[in-house]
């Protein structure tokens, strides 16, 4: 593979980096390098290993194998502090600017030791250095301004300035700034502004840029690495770059096998069980309309920030629609869903992404968790019958193959796959006919994944309708009857996957 245009040893070089989590190989012999004054892009699907690679570089993880060298010398990190000493800093997606402090206080957060005079912080020196670094990077923000008055992109600039300053203080030769999806929450002009700034700052630093939006990668980056399934696929320099090329390299194989039980796929019924007409929510999604048919698996695809998560939450009443109409079985119900309890009573269920904190009550046993949705139905003479709780739980545990010594085992002691089955079991028992599933197989091993797919097929056969947000395009394509593609809060298109399955590339075309 090509390593840059430079024949010399690159400034920072990562060679043969491998990293596994339990049995999952997140990275396999990945190479990566970056030079001074260069912006290098990193692309790949979810789970391709981008984040793992970046975190190894930032000292958050330790690589199992491989070496990192800077300026020709091998370097080792035990923690993020070590990486910072070498001038490497991350600007996180969740920003680390504290709202209740000023710009200069934020700039030097955690580094106050540099400004001590006999144990007292010297505001004078802090202001002076803040002014200097902001001027050098040509960032037009007054250091005494309160952080809560800053725009998103200004905060990002402050974080970048913080990293550059710290790298200088640590005598690092060239600061390396890692930007993880910095444009997700930005409007178009802000992105333009950010890119202009990055191109200016380039002369002082090296920048690693991660984004889902390929057009950004193509305009901004000098070089781009493509990762897939934890391996290097290719590396392109600016002249060879095009969105189409990156797209095809990212996706690679396009097989959708029996893994998703596609042969069990049924045709959706005729009856419309849920319909949205022109539903909007400010800053999330706009004018969303679609129909969900009986026994259908409808998938919603889109990147983070596409509005799909907010849409699903609004359907279950966790947040509210600002406007639009919602029909269940043809009846307008929008006004009457104000909480998850209302949605539940209308026959909707919701399988949350964060199963440990939102799907389960970890400190309660399996049977108490599974019967949470049916407590009322298990009442006799006003009391919940323990015996009937046991009966329905035993039946469900057998049906969906939850592996545990007993149904009185606490949920925190179950494996990820079994935990997810308990959450599924809870919704199967509820008898609710519309189920919204947010990443139903996240963090579950391959065997359990397949069981969950089979289970979803069986649910559909029992006339349950599913809205899913899958963990990968393959999953969405493999499971769904139809796929809704969302971008920037709007439905781009709805792809039919009943007869012939689309490829991942067909989806990405609309998403990026």
């Amino acid at each position: 593979m090509k390593i840059g245009s430079n024949s010399m040893e690159p400034f920072l070089n990562m060679v043969n980096i491998s990293k596994s989590f339990l049995n999952v190989k997140a990275l396999q012999e990945v190479n990566f390098s970056i030079n001074e004054n260069e912006i290098v892009g990193l692309v790949g699907e979810n789970g391709a290993g981008k984040s793992t690679l970046v975190k190894i570089l930032a000292g958050v993880y330790k690589a199992d194998q491989g070496k990192i060298s800077m300026n020709g010398k091998d370097i080792y990190f035990n923690n993020p502090q070590d990486a910072k000493k070498h001038g490497i800093g991350i600007v996180f997606q969740e920003q680390s600017i504290l709202n209740n402090m000023t710009v200069y206080e934020n700039l030097f957060l955690g580094q106050e030791k540099f400004f001590l005079n006999l144990g007292v912080l010297s505001k004078e020196r802090m202001l002076k250095e803040a002014g200097e670094i902001l001027a050098e990077l040509d960032i037009d923000i007054v250091p005494t301004r309160n952080a809560n008055t800053l725009s998103f992109v200004q905060r990002e600039m402050i974080e970048i300035a913080r990293n550059v300053w710290l790298a200088r203080k640590s005598n690092a030769k060239v600061p390396i700034i890692l930007l993880d999806e910095p444009t997700t929450a930005l409007e178009q002009n802000d992105i333009k502004f950010l890119f202009q700034k990055l191109n200016e700052i380039k002369k002082h630093v090296a920048i690693i840029f991660i984004s889902h939006r390929l057009e950004e990668i193509v305009t901004l980056c000098d070089r781009v690495y493509v990762l897939k399934d934890g391996k290097n696929v290719d590396c392109f320099s600016k002249d060879d770059l095009s969105e189409n090329l990156l797209r095809s390299k990212m996706v690679g194989k396009e097989l959708v096998g029996e893994f998703y039980q596609s042969s069990m796929q049924r045709k959706a019924g005729e009856k419309v069980v849920l319909e949205l007409k022109g539903c909007s929510k400010k800053h999330a999604f706009y004018d969303v309309s679609f129909q969900l048919k009986e026994g259908e698996i409808l998938s919603i695809c889109g990147t983070v920030g596409s509005g799909k998560e907010e849409l699903c939450k609004a359907i279950f009443g966790i947040t509210k629609f600002d406007s639009g109409e919602v029909y269940i079985d043809g009846v307008d119900i929008k006004g009457s869903i104000n909480s998850p309890m209302d949605a539940f009573n209308k026959g909707i269920g919701y399988l949350p992404e964060d199963r440990r904190n939102e799907g389960l009550i970890l400190n309660l046993p399996i049977f108490e968790n599974i019967t949470l949705t049916v407590l009322k139905k298990l009442k006799s003479h006003g009391m919940v019958s323990r015996k009937r709780q046991f009966e329905v739980t035993e039946k469900m545990v057998k049906k969906i193959d939850i592996r545990s010594a007993s149904i009185t085992v606490l949920c925190k002691n179950l494996s990820g796959g079994n935990q997810q089955k308990v959450v599924l079991g809870k919704w199967l028992l509820s008898g609710n006919k519309i189920l919204v599933m947010s990443h139903p197989t996240r963090g579950v091993d391959v065997g359990a994944k397949q069981q969950i797919y089979t289970l979803m097929r069986e649910m559909v056969n029992d006339e349950v309708s599913l809205i899913i947000m899958g963990d990968s395009f393959e999953e969405d394509i493999g499971l769904a009857n139809r796929i809704i593609i969302m971008k920037d809060g709007k439905i781009m298109t709805i792809i039919d996957a009943n007869e012939s399955k689309p490829t991942s590339a067909d989806l990405i075309k609309y998403i990026v």
């Binding site: 998850p340 949605a343 939102e358 389960l360 919940v384 323990r386």
Partner: protein
Amino acid sequence: MKKIQFKNSTIDFTKLLPLVAVITLFTFFSLRNSQFLGLYNIGNILDFANTYFIAGIGLTFVILIGSIDLSIGAMISLDTILFIIMINAIGFWAYPIIIVIGIALGLFNGVVLMRLKIPSFIVTLGSSGIFMSLALIFSGAGPIGLVPKQLHTLSFLTARIGPFTVNHFLGLILFIVFQIIQNKTVFGKTVYAVGNSEVTTELSGLPIMRTKLISFTISGLCTALASIVIVSIMLSAAPSTGPPYMLLIIATVVVGGTALSGGLGGVYNTLLGSLLLSMLRNGMNVIGIDIYYQQIIYGAIIIAAVSLTLDRSKIKIVK
């Protein structure tokens, strides 16, 4: 709290530890002083435990959902004053009315919490001020005694059958009723679910707000019942009656093993907690520990109990 797995059964330390403590204390004080087991002294221990247990039941539900009710002390002042005023005026009718008032006070806390969505300790600290003012206004800021001709309206509650009084049977009945409500009803199950994970409970379609409302209402109800017991023993009431109870009622609940972080413990634990504190207090008196030193023991015990039961996975930062 940790659990140890023995083959098929789990032993729950939060249930076991207070029980062991109760038995140990009982044995210790009986051996140290023969007076401890006297009929009169046993009656004393039960009287004290009973009052704190009854008020503690309501607080148990509030703590189980992960909230706190700091207005119980002020509620006791207000309830006892209104109760004695009403008994002096209308006799037996005071009973149903004070129960309705108790429910209303609890409901007030619950509604404020539900509408304004602010932390329960602030809600109840604030309402505590309101209740205390009302107590001062209704009482004229001084003690109110029972008029002698109404003595019969109260005296049956303290009639003795061996070491027991009618009050103790009230405590026993409440124990049974609330034990069933806690373990067998949808409300009780939801209380534990909310206390352990409010988000999961809400996403399972269960009524969070109604559960909180009912919990605070039960707290108001139980405080009114405890106030009846207090008046039946003291035959008087004053604005200063309630506040000293507050700390020890919280102590009763947490010493019994109910976790301040919510979702762990229950009415049974509060029963043990009330017996434990009552025996400790009585035992210290019987073997002659100076009353000035006793507060040290209570304080230390509360801190120890909370540190043992608190679920630290839920509270990442201690403020």
